[in-house]
Assembly symmetry: C2
Homo-oligomer: 520 residues x 2
């Protein structure tokens, strides 16, 4: 047999589209497998790893991530993407192949902007800053972590500078997790939210406080967990393709689309923690479990963006899990599990208790009404830090001032203020808070769109049936994986740009009714 001859000058020319796609997919699959292994190592680190494993584990995860990054920034990937451009342009925008090539190119072009030496410095600073923060927080000692946070800010600015075409420094940092969303858009969005929510919170705080003492009793951990598991199974988290374990901070980890795990934590003296935590993580997990299997092993085979992910967790946690219809079905079951604690507590008292609005220091414990105000303040601080309007050393004080402007009181310690959560101490400032609020907005939009398309959804919820809602989400959002950005998804599902109007309308209606107040 004659060997195939390469035509002059181009050894690639003989290759056809199919073989190039196969090569691209093979390379992406290998990278994906490395990332999946790193994900399992991370899950194990938080669940079952014995204390002795900690040192080697950080190194092992680092090696896998570095190899994945090396393989993804291989110029061969760029060449394949270039060669596949005519094919991509010949296909519908939302086809699997066009989306694969488009999204992979976007990721690739972002990845190769970052010089390896910078990445090493960036990752190294992240690791050490996190370590220093854990001590600084325990000791309420912001000064200890301040130089590391200054370095983090400097590196975040340097990162952004690799994308000089961006309108604002924060844009490339947001794009890491929420492609298609800009700082300018968020600045306006958060200002609008503050204008509506701050007066709402003031009006609510002026009302009599609902009694939530029913939630502060002794609830044995094993029964809390068993009940939570039953609930998330019922909403559609598939435990043959997932599992729930305990960890200090709840997380969702995707090892494969058929192996999506969640964790939760339990406090025996407060009922909502584990229950709503499980619902939240199950929302993330149901999203990943319903991505089309054909997208697995590629950059399309996961949730679209952090904001979209958060929309799914918040939808199940709040729109479903804190609704009256949901508890019509589940409250008698919960009473049966905790007869001494809840047997004589009416469902309405319970419903009001789990929806109590009470401004507090901590974002992660915030109710639906105050939640986005915490995010607004943090987003604005990110912009001000990046722009140099706020210096890191002044952050504790500025935090207190702005918190006071928002809520009318302020934390006296930094542990309850700027040190309260890890986010900024993990190596980056910028792009760390918008997704929670974007998620809130989209959770309402999509829940209402589903309810409009299927008027039976609320009645089904009251009977413990969630299939119609879940299928709508699966077919409208989940199935596409990472094909679309937030603006694209909004445009495809409900039309128009993403605004705060539906979200604010929802909050005003629900909390107006709960507190007997009529909001503007």
């Amino acid at each position: 047999m004659e060997p195939l001859k390469a035509t002059e000058g181009s050894p690639q020319k003989g290759k056809d589209v199919k073989s190039r796609l196969t090569e691209l997919r093979g390379r992406l699959r290998e990278i994906h497998d490395l990332q999946a292994a790193a994900a399992l190592l991370g899950w194990d680190q938080r669940t079952y790893m014995p204390p002795g494993g900690a040192g080697a584990r950080a190194q092992q995860i680092g090696t896998l991530q570095r190899l994945a990054h090396e393989k993804f920034t291989d110029p061969a990937i760029g060449r394949l993407l270039d060669e596949l451009r005519p094919y991509e342009e010949s296909l519908p925008y939302d086809s699997d192949d066009a989306s694969l090539i488009r999204v992979t190119r976007r990721d690739y072009e972002r990845a190769i902007r970052i010089p390896p030496a910078f990445k090493d410095e960036f990752d190294g600073n992240a690791a050490i800053t996190y370590q220093v923060w854990t001590r600084a927080r325990a000791e309420d000692d912001f000064a200890a972590v301040q130089p590391y946070l200054e370095k983090t800010l400097e590196l975040s600015r340097q990162y952004a500078a690799f994308f000089p075409e961006a309108e604002h420094l924060i844009d490339p940092l947001i794009a890491i997790v929420d492609e298609g969303i800009t700082g300018a858009y968020l600045t306006q969005l958060f200002a609008e939210l503050q204008a509506s929510l701050i007066p709402m919170v003031r009006a609510i705080v002026g009302q009599p406080e609902p009694d939530d003492s029913c939630l502060h009793q002794h609830f044995p951990a094993d029964r809390q967990l068993a009940f939570g598991l039953q609930v998330i199974r019922r909403i559609g988290y598939d435990l043959d393709r997932g599992r729930e374990d305990l960890s200090e901070h709840p997380i969702t980890t995707t090892i494969a689309l058929d192996d999506v795990r969640i964790t939760t934590r339990v406090r025996e003296n407060y009922l909502p923690g584990a229950l709503f935590g499980s619902l939240h993580e199950a929302g993330h997990a149901i999203y990943e479990q319903n991505i089309r299997k054909e997208l697995e092993g590629t950059p399309l085979g996961r949730g679209a963006t952090y904001g979209v992910h958060e929309s799914q967790s918040r939808l199940w946690e709040n729109l479903v899990g804190r609704s009256r219809a949901f508890w019509e079905f589940f409250y008698p079951q919960l009473q049966a599990v905790f007869p001494d604690q809840l047997g004589r507590v009416p469902v309405d008292t319970f419903y009001r208790a789990i929806n109590r609005v009470k401004p507090g220091f901590f974002r992660v414990e915030a109710d639906e009404v105050t939640y986005s105000l915490h995010c607004a303040m943090r987003f604005q601080l990110e912009v001000d830090l990046l722009d140099g309007r706020v210096a890191v050393r002044d952050l504790p004080e500025v935090w207190r001032e702005r918190f006071h402007q928002t809520f009318g009181f302020a934390p006296t310690t930094d542990r309850d203020g700027v040190l309260q959560e890890m986010n900024w101490y993990c190596g980056r400032i910028g792009g760390l808070y918008q997704h929670f609020t974007l998620g809130n907005l989209m959770s309402v939009l999509w829940f209402e769109a589903a309810a409009q398309a299927h008027s039976e959804i609320e009645a089904e919820m009251a009977h413990g049936e969630f299939g119609t809602l879940r299928n709508w989400l699966a077919q409208t959002i989940h199935t596409h994986g990472r094909k679309f950005t937030i603006p694209e998804l909004i445009d495809r599902t409900v039309g128009g740009p993403l605004t705060s109007s539906a979200y604010l309308r929802y909050l005003k209606r629900k909390y107006g009714e709960l507190y007997g107040v009529s909001f503007q």
Copy 2:
């Protein structure tokens, strides 16, 4: 500053030994991290992975192993090893650096003999054969797996042929796991063992059977596990650097030298399974936990060979765990855990029960006296298969014949015969059984050497103290990791070649006493 100039023709020449060693260690560390990740994926597969994860998991492990192999066979490693040879030769044989270079070279030279395409075929055949075997065993259908086993035999021969300098086809297959041991040596060893053990078994079978009904009662799983955990912690398995979980087949998995995990399984109607299984695995784990940390991340940072590993597991399971001294301390505790089941059973009855000799079909359930006879038969079959004296299609029949020759009876099904265990159905024939017997031999040799060096060991055991024994093993065997082959280790510890004499003497003394028989 002037840049360093490379001298003529050799860009390597400027490099010194230190930078080469650093580069070699860096490359080996990366490979090690990939293997550690694959190990965790394997552990998770057997313990917590939800059923849905199975498909992706096989692919993920395959990718990690392939990458590790690619990186290990990189010619740069061969070059570094060549460049480091003068340095190696300037050092004592047993120094860390000389051992690292020597053992890495041995592994490297073995690895590069195997063409990548052959490796892919070999690994692919292993995966499919194992799958077919699980069905074939369930359905007692040897014919279903026969063609795959024929392919396995052919591939095993081809593998061996990549080492044409070997005296016998089985030698390169043994060297994969027990470097320094040859087929010729084992042929003689197993013949000697059969000559002694077959008459021993016949003599024992002629005696009245000890009553082991005390072991066949209902023992709740949670109490079995709690007791077992207490025992293995006491012998020195460090649970801050390990953990015990449940799995279908007990395994030990090293994720890092400070993260060595074991699994066990429990049968509620038979006490010894979980207990001795845990002791066995803890023996493996204690070995790895006591390897010097300086060797971690290199080919030296694990157990020396499979045979040496098995010596440690068998030592704790049998020499310690089935000894009278051990139960002097632990039996009252066991009685306290199971007062209804064992409260009125004297320790001597229990001791005789756990040491009952009873020929049976299954190697994994065999007692100390019959165990090596199962291995002898399998080793001889491996040789005969490789030499073509036995054909795969005749294996079921030949199995029955040889089993009958050994034990005087034979299984009627292949499920109880040639299909009983996975070993040959995992891609290779040859080198799969010698290590169990080598382990038995060395377990006795080293236990006796320790007891000779420290006469207090037996008295300590009777008081539940194991520190002297464990420290002797740690300092004499464990600490060296993979520095030495079996012959080297035997020579360094007890002198001379490895023979069966101490092992047979031990069996004759222990079982002569138990059964009131005087063996030749």
